[in-house]
Symmetry: C2
């Protein structure tokens, strides 16, 4: 790798839009998680696909790593340049290029955030449903195959990215997918780049599937005596085909945290948070059907919030749960676990996790997207106490082991990066080597986000 | 390629379950489409994954092509061994291995047909929704990324295959995906094998997503003055978020054919065939909403069929439309086209196709899964008249050219095989070479269904 020549070449291409400033490097060396800071050698701010292609071409010539950066909210170190090189910050490529209302699609640049997209869509009657909590960039969300609270109804990024423009490791610009809703035309390249964490190419444009803004939305909270009762209600809800838009679990510890943080007075029990989308009649019918199922599992009576304000408060509480939990232990940092299991194993997985964390003395409220079988324990550690980091990592490791034993996955929505690399062989067996072969075929010089996701090559 | 030694080795492994019988070879050399017969050198009937792995290992050793065979219903020559070699007939691997009702999944072998699966699911309250018309094998449906009438509501095979067991080109057995509903763990290998037409590996087991049998189903037909009116109604229906389960178009020529074949008396106009799934209340609400939209576009009043018998007759008519159309010209063979366009371009694509076929004198009723923007013209040709084949191929070629110009795809659901190979470069540009690189990485000897889908290597 010849970083000095790469930077010199990039400077003649990009001028001021490649920076070596200490503060900029430091900012792009951090993550929201517990990984050590790792500043890149330079940060590039391209404004066009052609510039991204030029950056990759120059980096290929000088064998310099290229790491894509959206908003820096990934949780497994995906956007950190642990091997140095150039971070490509997409913040200047954040335009809505086109909204096709009849086709219910939007063409956007990768640096656009999901909230900015939804702001732009407000008047169209359409919205982009994937909601991972953070106001992440859409390129980043695609690259980690993000999902969140609405996946049970609207799917993940896998389901909502229809087409891409990608700069390959050679600096070539290709398009995957078409404007059609479906296709049987060859390998699903769109699906291959979604979730590839920038290791196969850099996404420079996305065509996203939009959904109609529901005519009516209602939301509610419902308390249960146990996680098992709550999860049994979730299973019944899905089996009955109730098209629930969100169904989120907060365990007792999480409820305690949001009560403290948002000055709420929820009973200190496991809760489901619900949202229904539809017509006024169909949401009322859904609510009634859900209520009957909840009662069978000793769920509390629940208040419906059909007013926007009350709903907003409810989901703000859920979205801020991460910060509420952090607030439970001032000065703490979080390790956010992210397992996903078959829904029939969900109660077991959550209850065993709770018992395990309690026994290990690791503070870790649990919440999750239970309609998908996906949940998180937010493990709180004192960053100055290495023993706590060790204990939390060990607990996280046992969670993954449990998930895999139950037929699940090490990560439902946060991705691999470097944080989950150690589980790839166990989860995928021979499939992981196959991923390595695909990576080698598309990035033989190993310049695209090296050291992430696939088997280490050197 | 040393086919004699490969067959000798396979005979010592499989005994009677590898056959060279003329009739068996002839049967496995045919397709439902216009491609010339192309018998393989032998047909193998494995009963276990280990036997499939053994077959591929031996074929790799002797450089012999391996072509997977389900029910032989693919339409672009996907299962024909144009380069000879071994056809692997999966008809003896047709078991339902497991149905997990709480998880709403089924593990099945690839030779199982979709109707056999649904028969086995009858008492569970669940069903497998993907319905391409033919009673295809589920391995074949996955391999061509099949869809059909229900994709508008339930998605295609891409959306309904959760995990796979695959024998790779080396004869290694790998598993892709897990029992979890979603995952961010690495490249989407499941999605890569779905739609790969057996060119990257042989599917030996599938985990499928099931849906709940709807409590209430209702169906209807609605006539329109023009295709444009029908399609405008479709667009409005989808934009309003009516969760329609099927929405099929038959043009005037198709209606004429089904009238003749099924002794129906539909008015000779474009029709939409509809099905709604839900509760009694929600299907009634959906019907009412749809009715209002149809009236805005001068749709006819329509009869609802909530009784099973009437619905069955309606969909039998649709499913038999292909044969009804064939019946319009005794002795004819069909070339079934399969383009898919952005829904905003659908009326334009259909109307231009109609005018083009009329002008070219090619008989070709049009029908389609219009909720997805996907439609077929069934081009009827005299198999003994090469001029007609030439004219039909030319018309089909113009349809694809039109689809690509409108931002669509050369195939919505039938796949590439050899029939659509010539369009891959035009549709995918540099992406096609990238598909070739993936193929080369996973099948360096080019033994898996060679000559299909990817750029020819020799």
């Amino acid at each position: 790798m010849d970083i000095a020549r790469a930077i010199a070449d990039l400077q003649s291409s990009l001028g001021q839009r490649i920076t070596l400033s200490k503060s900029d490097l430091a900012l792009h060396g951090q993550s929201e998680s517990h990984f050590p800071p790792s500043p890149p050698d330079a940060v590039a701010y391209p404004e066009t696909t052609a510039e991204v292609a030029e950056i990759v071409t120059l980096c290929a010539r000088h064998r310099v790593p290229v790491v894509a950066w959206g908003t820096g909210t990934s949780l497994e170190g995906q956007a950190q340049a642990f091997r140095g090189g150039i971070v490509v910050d997409f913040s200047r490529m954040n335009a809505v290029l086109d909204v096709a209302t009849a086709d219910m699609t939007a063409r956007v640049q990768p640096g656009l955030t999901r909230q900015a997209l939804n702001d732009a869509l407000r008047a169209t009657g359409l919205f982009f449903p994937v909601d991972p909590g953070a106001n992440a960039s859409l390129g980043g969300m695609a690259s980690t195959r993000a999902s969140g609270t609405t996946a049970v109804r609207y799917g993940t990024m896998r389901d909502n990215v229809l087409a891409l423009e990608v700069v390959t490791a050679k600096g070539e610009v290709i398009r995957t997918g078409t404007g059609a809703r479906k296709s049987s035309s060859g390998y699903d390249l769109t699906g291959l780049f979604v979730g590839a964490e920038g290791t196969l190419g850099l996404i420079t444009e996305l065509t996203l599937r939009l959904s109609g803004q529901p005519e009516a939305i209602s939301a509610a909270v419902c308390a249960f005596d146990s996680v098992a009762d709550a999860v049994a209600t979730v299973i019944d809800t899905i089996q009955c085909g109730i098209p629930i838009a969100r169904i989120e679990l907060m365990d007792t510890e999480s409820v305690r945290a949001v009560n403290a943080h948002a000055k709420m007075t929820l009973p200190e029990k496991p809760h489901l948070l619900l949202e229904f989308h539809g017509t006024p009649a169909s949401t009322a019918e859904q609510a009634e059907s859900f209520g009957a199922l909840a009662r069978e599992h000793k769920g509390s009576d629940f208040d419906w919030a059909t007013q926007t304000e009350a709903r907003t408060a409810l989901w703000a509480m859920r979205h801020n749960a991460y910060y509420a939990i952090l607030g439970q232990r001032p000065g703490a940092r979080a390790i956010v676990t992210d397992i996903c299991v078959p829904i029939s194993k969900l109660a077991e997985a959550i209850e065993e996790t709770r018992a395990d964390l309690d026994q290990a003395g690791v503070m870790g409220p649990i919440l999750g997207h239970v309609g998908d079988g996906n949940f998180h324990a937010v493990l709180l550690i004192d960053p100055d106490n290495p023993d706590e980091l060790t204990a939390a990592k060990a607990a996280s490791d046992r969670m993954v082991t449990r998930a895999l034993a139950l037929g699940g996955t090490a990560t439902g929505e946060h991705g691999i990066g470097v944080g989950k690399l150690d589980y790839m062989q166990r989860e995928h067996g021979g499939g992981w080597a196959l991923m390595g072969a695909l990576k080698h075929a598309l990035d033989p010089l190993n310049i695209l986000n090296p050291g992430k996701l696939v088997p280490p090559r050197n």
